[in-house]
């Protein structure tokens, strides 16, 4: 099933990726081609087959909840593009009333 340009815009919004001129056509064409190959999965009968999320035996390993040293505030902020007063700086997320 080919992807429409509306769907591309919707997915790009969900994925938080801006679209530049030409991107809509590019993704619509390329993703449609890949999805056409992927659609062959529908040929496989899977009604009674459980899904596999991971393949090795799992036992939900738990460890004791003891504090241990983590990153310092300076280390955590060392790679920040913009930091102020020990915080990551981002544009305002609430309108000033």
């Amino acid at each position: 099933m080919p992807l429409t340009r509306d769907q591309v815009r919707h997915v790009a919004q969900l994925a938080r990726i801006a679209l530049e001129p030409g991107d809509e056509e590019f993704y619509a064409e390329q993703l449609s081609g890949i999805l056409e190959h992927i659609d062959r999965l529908q040929e496989v009968p899977t009604d009674d087959i459980p899904p596999t999320a991971q393949v090795v035996e799992v036992t939900n390993p738990l460890r004791d909840d003891v504090p241990r040293p983590g990153l310092t505030q300076e280390e955590a902020l060392a790679n920040a593009p913009a930091a102020v007063n020990g915080f990551f700086r981002v544009p305002s997320i609430q309108d000033e009333a």
Binding site: Y27, L41, V44, A53, N79, P81
Partner: protein, 486 residues
Amino acid sequence: MSELTELTIAEAARLLRLHSISATELVTAHVEHIARVDPLVKAFLRFTPELYEKQAEEADRKLKREQGGLLTGIPVAIKDVLCVKGVETTAGSQILRGFKPPYTGTAVSRLFDEGAVMLGVTNCDEFAMGSSTENSGYFPTHNPWDLDRVPGGSSGGSAAAVAAGEAMIALGTDTGGSIRQPAAVCGVVGMKPTYGRVSRYGLIAFASSLDQIGPFARSVEDAALVLEAMAGHDPLDATSSDRPNDVRRDLDKGVKGMRLGLPREYSQVEGMEPGVNAAVREAIKALEKGGAEIVDVTLPHTDYGLAAYYIIAPAECSSNLARFDGVKYGLSVQDVDNITDMYMRARRQGFGTEVRRRIMLGTYALSSGYYDAYYLKAQKVRTLIKRDFDEAFAKCDAIVSATSPVVAFPIGSRTEDPLSMYLCDVLTLGGNLAGLPGISVPCGMSQGLPVGLQVLAPQWREDVALRVARAYEVASGVKAEVASVG
């Protein structure tokens, strides 16, 4: 002393122990060789003199006191997805340009604990997504055997560095074949361990149910040694296993009496080159001569593996890569109206075409209304693929096949059509979907270019995969050679 750059670990360790050479001399020989060949091969993104100078001195101190570890003084190259404290680590992406991790990942720190000396950071496809290293956000790497061709990918820089004698060993990561395929097309040994054998702490995640870290080397013995040094439980990765670290136990036992399975479907995959098939058939004959019994097996869902993989891996990547938002690290866009705009523009600018394509694909597959048709369906097909392998391993000890259906292809020849690139991994990604250990060993040439033999073993049976690969190496006399560059 250019021959110092052609040694295996076993050979180098002997010379170091006898004090015939020093670790500093060994590293210097590699650094000088890199200065000659890397301008052509471009395997490295950056070098780490601040590490290798200190680590080589430390290795020499230990050797003098006869206190060396498994890898004391051995020069290693590290793929750009493995965090090393204070060393710029970018996953081959512009979005992480300048990022210096505040800690070192477990696999790398275990090599350092054993005395390895880090030469530098190797190039790769951006976020390990690709089969040619052409998706690097920096520059393509060239195959040392033919500079006009790709080194495979995504760990192409690591494979090329070992093939060109720029590093004795290297680390890579394998999500759908990203260690085995570049090892095959560069003519070196590369191994993907069982999912959970090596801690992924400090690995920049691509697809968390598939990713594993593994070694590149110029002999099976070396690959086994590096794997042993890295393997084992790590409290910092809950998926790492506490099973015994016994990967080297049967290395030299040969294949006499072993049953090796040939999957009918694997020799018939789309795009299989006759020269590759011929080299692999010869390799299988050599194993048969060594006493192995060859049995036919079938993996009936092979045709659906690629489709399942290209839902599961992009879905996981779309989630993992959500963290790259231009706020905490990496590329950021500051002149924006609001925070959503900030995220969206940073991700458009910072991610390359293939990464954006896969995030979009994965987001679509997980989006409301499509989840059952794509992601859930792919997970069910994954179960069937896993069962295919379980049934095959009831009839054989290991599965042998080509690693890549094609030899190294010309740079630029597959970049326009993503599916043609994805088809490079059709023989390797089953191993990731089923969590199996797999190794690629050089098995001759086709069109003057290396061909790889893949050995897949049941989960946790790295010992079996390594034993078969080693037996082939011994029986055939085919060795991973250093390519002469330039």
